[in-house]
Amino acid sequence: MFCFSTSINKRNLIYGVFDSEVNLMSAVEEVREKGMEVFDCYTPFPVHHLDTAMGISRTRLSIAAFLCGLTGFCLGLLLQFYMMVFDWPMNIGGKPSDYHMLPSMVPVVFECTILCTAFGLAFLFFFRNKLGHGVRPDILDLRQTDDHLLIAFDADTLDLNAKNELVVILNKNKVLSTHEYVGQYAVNHGGVHA
């Protein structure tokens, strides 16, 4: 599933507020059993296995990290081969300036690999999550970064029946409150979408 972080802009959402990750988790599981899609959850701390419960596939950032590392590895080798072997082979204390110096290239190649992996991965992480300096945060509840755990549903995908069912499930799992959210420019269907 290829999905960027989903923006709440231009959307009609229904969201429930929880104060415990155990209740949130069982709500997600029950909702999924009924065949409804969870739009997103917002938690102040990582809740393990919530992503798999929601049906989100594993990120491919680890593959990207390997590719970044490989790039760094090649760049490190290229850098040293170009400078020490091709461009200006230095004779310092009779030490070799050809492929024989491969062992002494190891540390710099290693550092280049790590450097490229870390920076490549960090930038890809920001890009993938649409995080950036000055990005306006899509906050539904000011305490979603403090002690509230949110579960959000796209209201446009739910009919009246499903909505009623949803409220039952949320209440059963001790939801603190349920709210409707009408995003900027979103059409308000009056809470019902046939």
Binding site: Y42, V47, H49, M101, K130, H133, D147
Partner: protein, 451 residues
């Protein structure tokens, strides 16, 4: 839940805290006016920072002749301090990366401050080799792979000193990325609590639009794990390469294959010493006793004891190998270390690093804060002397008897060292003032002992 903690295991966070308590407790120092203690500490540190600025200015203005290093002892306080600070930095990465890989959850209340310490310590360390080059304004051509003005004469990749440049700069930048990435969720928490315009703007800017969406968290955890995975060999490589600065030379006392593991153990030892020094003060001043508990202190004391014993073993092994090698210059270097004119430095090192940590076999010593504080200072002193012993006693009496000299740090060298403490603590005080010292998001995740 697939995470199962034994019911008999004591909780990592005490005081029966709720999620809201964690946020409130950890944000309190950043949201209120700084205390009088903070101002006193900050002023002293800032004064020392000014000493650093003045003495570095004097060094550059006059030349490094203002240091007492000479033809025989060409590395003195400068490289001693460099290795000392780099070593201190290692505990941060050890705590956040290696303990993450080992799933040690007690790391979560101390990893943020330890990583901050890493970054500030590496900044202090970098000062010394840079200014030791003398003409610092042309230093870029000597350390970075840039072509010089006369054609493309590049840096020498056969030299461990150049490997060190790559290692230290990679270490600094990767640690910074790891630290910042881990802090984004907490900055978002502060952003959503901010009341003033300036706070809203800056915390919004640095939180990068974080919402705590599950997709983001899932990726965040994968990224943290990978960064921890690559930081672990990185931190080992850094001090290995620092030790190669010595081990690849032919100076008796330096030319030993035991150096890399011995230096890495020493780095962890000294780093944990400094983490203890800082956190013992911080938990008291910032009222974090429920987050940095006696259990945390005890765990760190155990690491100190283990690594202290490892460096002790290395000291004794070095001595044994010097005798066993049958190489008279090596034998002389070690006799001279222990019984020569710098005997006091050698035995200070032995006492502080090998003997002193052995008190941690007793539970009382591991769990009494004031005693731990004293011991952490002893460890810091001992590790400074270790580097001094390795560097100065090996150089001051080398092969050529006519070049034998004695060396002591000049006024400027000592003030630069004191000044780096100013830099370190100024940064740390600012960090305590503006950023969350404890990782709120992670601590919230371990609040409840799940069954």
């Amino acid at each position: 839940m697939s995470v199962v903690d034994a019911a008999i295991r004591p909780p990592l966070i005490t005081g029966g805290k709720t999620y809201a308590d964690v946020t409130a407790d950890i944000c309190r120092p950043l949201e209120n006016k700084p205390s009088r203690l903070w101002w006193i500490g900050f002023s002293i540190s800032f004064f020392c920072l000014m000493i650093l600025a003045a003495s570095l200015f004097w060094t550059v203005w006059t030349g490094i002749g203002v240091w007492n290093i000479n033809k025989s002892v060409m590395w003195g306080w400068d490289i001693t301090n460099f290795v000392f600070w780099v070593g201190i930095g290692h505990a941060g990465t050890l705590i956040s990366a290696i303990l993450l890989l080992f799933r040690q959850k007690w790391r979560m209340s101390i990893n943020r401050s330890a990583e901050a310490m890493t970054i500030f310590a590496v900044m202090c360390a970098a000062i010394f080799p840079m200014f030791h080059m003398g003409r610092i304004w042309v230093g870029a051509y000597w350390v970075f792979p840039l072509p010089n003005a006369f054609g493309s004469l590049w840096v020498n990749f056969n030299s461990p000193l150049l490997w060190d440049v790559f290692a230290i700069s990679t270490y600094f930048s990767v640690s910074l990325v790891f630290w910042y990435l881990g802090m984004i969720p907490d900055i978002a928490t502060i952003r959503d609590r901010a009341t003033t315009k300036a706070r809203k703007f800056w915390y919004n800017f640095f939180s990068m639009g974080w919402t705590g969406s599950v997709r983001t968290w899932a990726r965040y955890e994968v990224v943290s794990l990978i960064l921890a995975g690559i930081s672990t060999p990185l931190v080992l490589s850094v001090h290995t390469i620092v030790s190669m600065d010595f081990a690849t030379s032919i100076v008796p006392g330096w030319h030993t294959t035991i150096f890399p593991p011995y230096f890495v153990a020493g780095a962890i030892f000294s780093g944990f010493g400094m983490v203890l020094t800082l956190l013992l003060v911080a938990r008291k001043v910032l009222n974090y006793e429920n987050y940095i508990t006696i259990g945390h202190l005890e765990a760190m004391a155990k690491v100190i004891m283990l690594t202290g014993t490892m460096v002790g073993l290395a000291y004794i092994t070095e001595f044994f190998i010097a005798w066993y090698s049958g190489y008279e210059y090596e034998q002389f270097a070690f006799q001279n270390r222990a019984f020569g004119p710098y005997w006091w430095a050698y035995w200070t090192m032995m006492g502080c690093n090998l003997l002193a940590p052995q008190v941690f076999w007793f539970k009382w010593a591991r769990t009494t804060p004031w005693f731990l504080f004293m011991l952490s200072i002893v460890v810091n002193v001992g590790m400074w002397f270790e580097r001094f012993v390795i560097i100065v006693t090996s150089l001051h009496r080398d092969y050529l008897t006519s070049s034998w000299v004695m060396y002591e740090g000049s006024f400027i060298e000592v003030s630069i060292f004191i000044g780096t403490f100013g830099l370190f603590f100024t940064c740390f005080f600012l960090f305590c003032r503006f950023l969350p010292v404890i990782n709120m998001a992670e601590v919230k995740g371990i609040l409840k002992n799940r069954e």
